[in-house]
Symmetry: C2
Subunit: 332 residues, 2 copies
C-alpha cells in the first residue's frame, strides 16, 4: 500500500467517538488503519474510569468543551439513541452515524439537514454496511441495469437484535441467533428464475440457547419460534446446547450479506450484478465504513459544503486517501 500516502499538506482529521459499546470499541481499534486520522477522545455517559480503554475518555456532559478540538464526531450509540442525540450535537460538531432504522431515516435526515445547514456543519447519516455500502450497491445496480429486480440477503451471521429477543425469554441463560440466507433462492435468482422473495422466504433463523436449570425446553422453544415479527414468520430452529459449547463456539460476531440484481439488458440478454460481504467482526466492518465517511465529512466541511448528506449524495473520491492523479492511475 506504499503508493497511498497522506498528502503532507492535508492536516490530520481529529476524531471524537460518542459511545463505547461494540461499535465505539471497533472505531477505536480500526483507527489504526486510517493514517490521516487521530482519536482525540471517547465520550461516555458511564463513569469514564470504568471503561477499559487506553484512549482519553471524557464524560459526555463535557463534550462541548471539545468543539474546537474535534473535526468529526462519530456517533457510536444505538439506533434508539441517535435520533435524540444527534440533533443536539450537529449545531456544534460535524457528525457521522450508522443510524439503521430504515423507517425513520427520512425524518431523521431532514431534521439533521435543517440544523446542519443553519450552523454550517456536515452530517453524513446512515453509514455502515446496510444501510450504507449496500445502499450504494442498490443504487448503482438499479441505475445501471434498469430492467431487473434487486434482492438483499443478510447473513450468514449473528443478529444482535434477534439474540436480544432470545435472551429475554424466561428460562434462557445464554442465547444467540444466526440469520441464514437461502442459497437455493440465490441460485434461482442468478439463473434468472422467478422467486417468491420475502424476508421470511429468503432467510431462516438458527437459535442456540443454554437453559437455566429445571425449565421446560419444549415450552421455551415454542415461545421463541412463535415470537411475532422476529421469529414467527421464519423457519426457526432452536438448538439447546451446553454452557461449555456456548462459550467455545458462539462468541464471535461474524456477519455478511449480499445484494443481487438480475434481469436483462434487452430481450433475452441476461445480466446479473452481485455484491457480497463476509466478515468475522460486524462492529469493526461498520466502524471501518464509518471512518471512511468521517474522511468525507471533513473534506466536505473544508470545502464549505454544508448540510446532511446520505451516502448517495457525495462524490466517492471524498472517501479515499488517494489524490486525484493517484486515483486515475491506480483505481480507474
Amino acid at each position: 500500500m506504499s503508493n497511498i500516502c497522506n498528502k503532507k499538506n492535508e492536516k490530520t482529521i481529529k476524531i471524537g467517538i460518542v459511545g463505547y459499546g461494540h461499535l465505539g470499541k471497533g472505531i477505536e481499534k480500526c483507527l489504526a488503519h486510517f493514517p490521516d486520522m487521530q482519536l482525540i477522545a471517547i465520550f461516555t455517559r458511564r463513569d469514564p474510569e470504568s471503561l477499559s480503554s487506553q484512549s482519553r475518555v471524557e464524560p459526555f456532559d463535557r463534550i462541548n468543551e471539545f468543539k474546537r478540538d474535534i473535526d468529526v464526531l462519530i456517533l457510536a450509540g444505538s439506533s434508539q439513541d441517535i435520533p435524540a442525540l444527534a440533533p443536539s450535537l450537529i449545531a456544534d460538531f460535524n457528525t457521522v452515524d450508522c443510524f439503521d432504522n430504515h423507517d425513520k431515516i427520512a425524518v431523521y435526515f431532514k431534521k439533521m439537514d435543517d440544523i446542519a445547514q443553519a450552523h454550517n456543519k456536515v452530517a453524513i447519516v446512515s453509514t455502515g454496511w446496510d444501510p450504507g455500502l449496500f445502499s450504494i450497491q442498490r443504487m448503482l445496480m438499479e441505475a445501471m441495469l434498469p430492467n431487473a429486480n434487486t434482492y438483499t440477503f443478510w447473513g450468514p451471521g449473528l443478529s444482535q437484535g434477534h439474540s436480544d429477543i432470545v435472551r429475554r425469554v424466561d428460562g434462557v441463560k445464554y442465547g444467540i441467533q444466526y440469520t441464514i440466507p437461502s442459497d437455493k433462492m440465490m441460485e434461482k435468482i442468478r439463473a434468472g428464475q422467478k422467486v417468491d422473495y420475502t424476508l421470511a422466504t429468503a432467510h431462516r433463523r438458527e437459535v442456540y440457547i443454554v437453559l437455566e436449570e429445571k425449565v421446560d425446553a419444549i415450552k421455551i422453544t415454542k415461545e421463541i419460534q412463535e415470537f411475532p415479527v422476529y421469529f414467527a414468520p421464519y423457519q426457526t430452529s432452536v438448538h439447546i446446547i451446553s454452557e461449555a459449547e456456548f462459550f467455545a463456539n458462539h462468541q464471535g460476531m461474524p456477519h455478511g450479506g449480499r445484494v443481487l440484481r438480475q434481469g436483462e439488458t434487452t430481450d433475452n440478454n441476461k445480466a446479473t450484478y452481485e455484491f457480497s460481504l463476509k466478515f468475522d467482526h460486524n462492529p469493526e466492518i461498520t466502524a471501518s465504513i464509518s471512518l471512511a465517511f468521517a474522511r468525507a465529512v471533513h473534506r466536505l466541511y473544508t470545502e464549505g459544503i454544508f448540510g446532511a448528506k446520505t451516502v448517495l449524495d457525495i462524490p466517492l473520491r471524498y472517501l479515499s486517501l488517494r489524490d486525484h492523479d493517484d486515483m486515475l492511475e491506480h483505481l480507474i
Copy 2:
C-alpha cells in the same frame, strides 16, 4: 418498478450516439429502458444509408448542426478513436465515453477537462464496467477496508481484443478467444490465503479457431500461443473446430468479472468484499452503464457544474431516476 417515475417537471434528456458498432447498437437498444431519454440521432462516418438502424442516422460531418438539439453525446467509437475525436466535440457537446485504455486515461482526462472547463461543458470519461463500475468498486472497497488487498478478475467471457489477434493469424478463417479467471485463486483469496496474483497467473485463455484449408494446425497453434503480451504469458489452449460448430456455439458476446478485496479489519478479524458481474451481451452492459452516466452528465450541466469528471467525482444520486425522498425510502 412502478415506484420509479420520471419527475414530470424534468425534461427528457436528448441523446446523440457517435458510432454504430457493437456499442452504438447496444446504446440504441438499451435506451428503451431509460424512460427519461430520447434518441435524437446516430452519427456515422459510413454512408448513413448503409446502416440497418430504424433511428435517424446522420453523417458525422454534420454533427455540429445538432448542437442545440442534443443534451448528451455518447461516444461509442473505439478506444483508438476517442482521444482524437472527443476533444474536437467537447467544446460543443456534453459527452460520455467508455475510453478504456488505462495507461492513457490521465492524459485524456486532463485534455478533456481543460476544454470542457473553457466551454462550460461536462464530460464523464471512462464509464462502462471496467473502467467504470469496477473503478467505483475498487475505490469503495479500498477506502472501507484499508488493511487488505484488491484483486480484479476478468471473465469468463469473450475478449474482442484477443479475438482480433487470433483472427489476424495467417490460416485462421474464424476465431474467438475466451478469458477464464482462476476459480482456485479466487477461493484462496476468499480463504485469506496468500496468492501469487498476476494477470497471467489469475487467468487462462481458451481459443477456438476454424482453419483455412491445407494449413499447418500445429504451426498456427504455436503462433497463437507464443504471441507476446496477449498470449505468451498465459496458459493458452487452442481448440480447432468446424465452421458449423463455430457458428452454432460461438456467436454470443458473454462476459463478466469480479473485484475482490480480502484482508482484516483488525488483527485476525478477516473480511472479504466481493463484486461480480455476469452478462450475456458485453456491449449492452457497457451501453446501460454509459446511459446512466449520461443522465448524470445532463444533471451536472443543468446545475452548472462543468469540466471533465471520472466516475469517482460525482454523487451517485445523479445516476438515478428516483428523487431524493424516494431514494431515502427505497434504496438507503
